[in-house]
């Protein structure tokens, strides 16, 4: 098991943004995490990546308790991520962004880094300052950066937001081509993308886990329909 969450919770004052969530991910698994706005999806990714402290529960990564491990250490252990709002280094070139993200800035990985850029369709932007890339290109760059870190687990937060249809298609094919041993946890509102990609789907609502199942099960699930219709669980 690559990731195991037990009783994970995060409170903000008296609001439980995430409440007693359990989740298990196998190596190489493709999992989607969906739910209405404010369900706690980003919060869950932040807890797994270490950007937030949980107020309850345990996080195990690769059979190792990382609940109190620093985000940098978790990244080195193999947790890579992208952000809901692309986080890149605007003053560095696209290539340097990838090299720094790979923690190999001394250039040994230069060819590899170019491959990562090529994979997301940014091959000819290698020397462009990341700050002058368009919104969509930044998303693609951040994905290349996350991949370059050599993750065992990849956390993606709404990678399709703000992309035009052809770009969503490109993203879909890129996700499909990810190495088979990388587990992926994908947060997305773009359900076509989700259903085309995921092995299994987990649904959150108001901080609670309401459903986990295959794509087909999820499409049929009454809980999921209720959650999206705004009914309290």
């Amino acid at each position: 098991m690559i990731l195991r969450l037990d009783g994970l919770g995060r409170r903000y004052g008296d609001l439980a943004a995430l409440d007693d969530v359990a989740l298990q991910l196998e190596p190489g698994e493709r999992r989607a995490l969906i739910g209405p706005n404010g369900a706690g999806k980003t919060t869950l990714l932040n807890l797994v990546a270490g950007a937030l402290r949980p107020s309850a529960g345990r996080i195990r990564f690769n059979d190792r308790d990382v609940t109190r491990t620093s985000p940098a250490r978790r990244a080195r252990l193999g947790i890579g991520r992208t952000h809901q709002h692309p986080a890149i280094w605007p003053t560095l070139s696209a290539l340097d962004n990838v090299l720094v993200a790979a923690r190999r800035p001394w250039g040994r990985l230069r060819p590899g880094a170019r491959d990562h850029l090529a994979a997301v369709g940014l091959a000819d932007q290698a020397t462009t300052r990341a700050g002058s890339l368009s919104h969509g290109q930044r998303r693609q760059l951040e994905l290349a950066m996350a991949l370059a870190g050599g993750p065992r687990l990849l956390l993606l937060d709404e990678p399709a937001a703000g992309l035009s249809p052809p770009e969503v298609e490109l993203l879909a094919s890129l996700l499909a081509a990810l190495p088979g041993d990388v587990a992926v946890l994908l947060v997305e509102h773009h359900l076509d993308l989700v259903y085309g990609f995921a092995d299994r789907v987990t649904v959150l609502h108001s901080g609670r886990h309401v459903h986990t199942g295959t794509v087909a099960e999820t499409r049929r699930s009454p809980e999921v329909a209720a959650a999206y219709a705004g009914v309290k669980p």
Partner: protein, 233 residues
């Protein structure tokens, strides 16, 4: 209120992004602008509302040329903006946003909260304590409460869960039928069609073509010359 844009040129520093855009949005209609990432959609919207000073051309509202006026004067003429990237006030609570924005008119706070009930549950959260989708809702609420006669929406549904996005688009379409003038930026043609009477295709800094919604529904490939070419070379 009728919006008439003629020969609009705008850009950043020495560079020009828009090379003479012509548009007209008669009162009570909705025009959607489609274009690939970086085509200049946001630039167009900003030039219309005064956040970016046009280099040439005119922006007429009911005949009065507002080009070059500072944004707050344009806003007072009845123009509201839902900006790309939400841009809610990080240090103000939801309640403060609503209090600060509201003006007398048909959009009251209760009515807005009825449309976006989630905001009511988050009244005491600050702008930087909202989930991505919640912040997007707040941006929409903020614009509506200023009682606009011309509403500019720059990818208003980015990050919203599917149902909610559909609902918001339905409301906007309804508003347009009720006499509001709407200029909408969207990524996906089908989303644009849910709201707009006409669709303008932006490419290379000019409006390449304008189609009615009916034409586009009949022949979806009409957008291809503008959107498909975009795939990354």
């Amino acid at each position: 209120m009728t919006l008439l844009v003629e020969g609009l040129r705008a850009g950043y520093g020495g560079g020009t992004v828009l090379h003479g855009v012509d548009l007209s949005v008669p009162e009570g209609t909705a025009l959607a602008v489609l274009g690939r990432n970086g085509a200049g959609k946001t630039t167009l919207v900003h030039a219309v509302c005064g956040l970016l000073r046009p280099k040439a051309g005119s922006v007429r509202l009911d005949g009065e040329d507002l080009a070059g006026r500072p944004a707050h004067r344009v806003a007072r003429a009845g123009v509201a903006l839902v900006p790309q990237g939400r841009r809610v006030f990080a240090s103000l609570t939801v309640a403060e946003h609503l209090r600060l924005t509201r003006r007398k008119g048909e959009w009251t706070v209760p009515r807005v909260l009825e449309l976006l009930p989630r905001l009511g549950e988050r009244r005491r959260h600050r702008g930087d304590q909202l989930s991505g989708g919640e912040a997007q809702m707040l941006a929409i609420a903020r614009a509506l409460l200023t009682q606009p006669r011309l509403l500019l929406l720059d990818e208003p549904c980015e990050g919203l869960a599917v149902d909610l996005a559909d609902r918001v688009r339905a409301v906007v379409a309804e508003l347009a039928r009720g006499g509001l003038t709407v200029l909408l930026v969207e990524q996906q043609p089908e989303h644009a069609l849910a709201v707009a009477d006409r669709v303008a295709l932006l490419a290379d800094g000019v409006v390449a073509a304008t189609h009615t919604a009916a034409e586009l529904r009949a022949d979806p490939t009409l957008t291809d010359p503008v959107l498909r070419v975009a795939s990354h070379a």
